[in-house]
Symmetry: none
């Protein structure tokens, strides 16, 4: 059985100005049926382009799902394109006509609804509880073809209510195992160096690495539940505490959970991240429960006068130093009266670097009752990338230390 | 000349969990060259799928652009797939090798960079200022094919610097007039209500509205330069000071320019934006020249103890009020010793709303020598959207007032 799927999105707006969010949504849903979404194509409201896309999909993949172009307007061309390519006549469905008449309390269908009755002959129909376009499915040319309406609030309930059942009948489900690891403080290359040889020993598993600013995601998938558990354990042993979460978890979300669980509070003192670290922390709903605030000390004057870093420290060590990072964290902890405070000070560039303190050099401080730890990192990239690397690293270090225990040693 | 284009995005993450934002971005850029983006296909990091996608595109469209899969890792397969389908050998580019060695100060390329030299024989190369993967372009089978790296901060500067020039040479551009307006403090609907009737009077012009968090982009395009000037003037008259910039200008960039031009400095006091406003301001290279810092006062204690808002104010009016916004801005201006200070305080949600002060209610303050102005807005949406609306609005109000003159009245 061909367990590959391909997605066709139709709608000129998806080419011109609207972001297309279909693929990840359908990919996730199809995994439940052991079906692998191999790709998606987006075309405008253009009969020839829709037909070309369908011909391509039919040639290569087992299940074809399309979204959009089932509305009653002139540019809704999906039914016609599919019927012409598949060689299946469009017929009028009495079932749909009477459903629409009942739903909208009409004696007869108005002109703008008459096309909504059209279905491919022999199609299985999926009722639409939130719109006028029914979904439909046919088998042709050895493929399964499903047409769904475009708006998410129409196709998603339809999926849960009827498409799922239809697929379960067609594609007897296989048990599959998968996991997505969220990794921080490692480069994509370092992750691959460790995990590629590990994954090569598991011939049947597929995997992906996705790199972000000093964070990574590693996902794998295999047909066997047992093998999946084994792989998961091996990866955990290989990456250890660099794994900060799973699935859709985030650094800021998990940091929030760790603080909430322990009933602790946090403050921030930022220089080169300029507010980004605090902004990430406050992206989490309810973060005001544990995050009390921060100071963005973007000038030496602000570091001294608002945050209270000693003039002597700045004079002797400079603002990008172990000493300054340490004092920034300690001062923020005192000012905001929190259990923990995290600090970031570095050079985001493109200007401001020197041979001794190059662009990308960043110090992190974490102050707690037990003392203050300072870390040093070097990042490479543009200004925004270094800002993001720095903010993610600050979140990760705070999360790790808060989880590891409160009795933090004095200076690292 | 075949002026149709097709886009190929590669990367398993775009199928599995990451939203694909390419099509609208490229559609817009191609319009400058009179090229019509007809569709896009996304495939995972799978050699066979990438090849199928390319074969499909070659059959149907004149210009093929791909993004992604040029990185140095095992799952970066684009070069190989294209070389195999097009029948063009991959060769090692000395130019790229010496560029990378110079850039990263290396005596020899490390193993993880050796693939970055590979280019299709005879390809035109596009230098990457923000990464290791060069772009490349070839002509084959009567088509023009361009390969670009995936990250937007890599391909977008590359586009402006070299791809544009390459396309202008290949596709002799029709003389067209166009403009992109950057608009703030208006909803997409409000922009359309004003500009749709205006544009309907210009039959030959096409236009697009792109909505963001309390900001909008409006682009139009026409075949005649003269008509374009006329349309531009009409739009300027219709939207007036809501237009904050043109082309690729940003709110934070233009705010920086306005401050720099006047030799003035800025500080921020944030509550519901939690650092996002300061982070946007400091995304601009050189912003430390005029931005001195800010306080993220995420709790009432921080508002009082760090920022110095009066207890009586919080008790009487609450933290989301004209009075609090006003004091926050004034206190930040004093603390950071700046010419201006901007404040934001509101309810980002999802919790914390009341019938009197619902989620999305936000106050903005701008303090200057001449006094303090306060503005009130209501936004609708999720937490991150409200944060972004608030930060953009704060930037816009600050920009507008700083440009309008220093003699700011006392309280609005």
């Amino acid at each position: 059985m061909n367990r590959t799927a391909f997605f066709i999105a139709t709608g000129s707006e998806l080419i011109n100005f609207k972001v297309n969010q279909y693929a990840p949504l359908f990919s996730e849903k199809l995994k439940d049926h052991g079906i692998h979404l191999k790709g998606e194509i987006t075309v405008g409201d253009d009969l020839a382009d829709i037909k070309k896309a369908l011909i391509f999909a039919l040639k290569n993949y087992g299940l074809i799902i399309s979204c959009g172009g089932l509305g009653p307007t002139f540019d809704d061309l999906t039914r016609r394109a599919f019927s012409e390519v598949l060689g299946i006549k469009l017929v009028r469905s009495k079932k749909i006509a009477s459903f629409l008449k009942r739903k909208y309390r009409l004696a007869a269908l108005p002109p703008n609804m008459t096309d909504q009755r059209l279905v491919m002959k022999g199609a299985e129909l999926f009722q639409n509880d939130n719109g006028t376009a029914f979904g439909q499915a046919v088998s042709a040319k050895g493929r399964t073809i499903i047409l769904l309406p475009g708006p998410r609030n129409e196709w998603e309930p339809m999926w849960g209510k009827s498409v799922k059942k239809f697929l379960a009948g067609k594609f007897r489900s296989k048990k599959t195992g998968s996991e997505r690891f969220k990794i921080a403080d490692m480069k994509e290359m370092e992750v691959q160096k460790i995990l590629n040889p590990l994954m090569e020993r598991h011939k049947n598993a597929g995997y992906t690495v996705l790199a972000g600013p000093n964070i990574c995601e590693f996902s794998f998938r295999t047909a066997e539940k047992k093998q999946a558990l084994k792989i998961k354990k091996e990866i955990q042993r290989a990456l250890r505490e660099k794994i900060y979460g799973y699935g859709t978890e985030t650094l800021e979300g998990n940091l929030g959970k760790a603080l909430r669980k322990r009933g602790k509070t946090l403050a921030a003192a930022e220089s080169c991240t300029g507010g980004l670290l605090s902004s990430l922390i406050t992206d989490v709903p309810g973060s005001s429960d544990y995050f009390k605030g921060g100071v963005n000390a973007y000038s030496n004057a602000a570091k001294m006068e608002v945050l209270g870093v000693k003039k002597a420290t700045l004079k002797k060590s400079g603002s990008v130093s172990v000493e300054c990072a340490s004092e920034m964290a300690e001062r923020a902890r005192t000012l905001f009266k929190t259990d923990y405070a995290v600090s970031v000070t570095g050079i985001a560039g493109p200007g401001g670097g020197t041979p001794q303190k190059p662009v990308g050099l960043v110090y992190f401080g974490l102050a707690s009752e037990g003392g203050t730890l300072v870390f040093k990192k070097n990042f490479r990239g543009g200004r925004k990338f270094i800002k993001n690397c720095s903010a993610n690293t600050a979140l990760f270090l705070a999360l790790k230390l808060i989880k590891c225990g409160e009795g933090v040693r004095r200076k690292a």
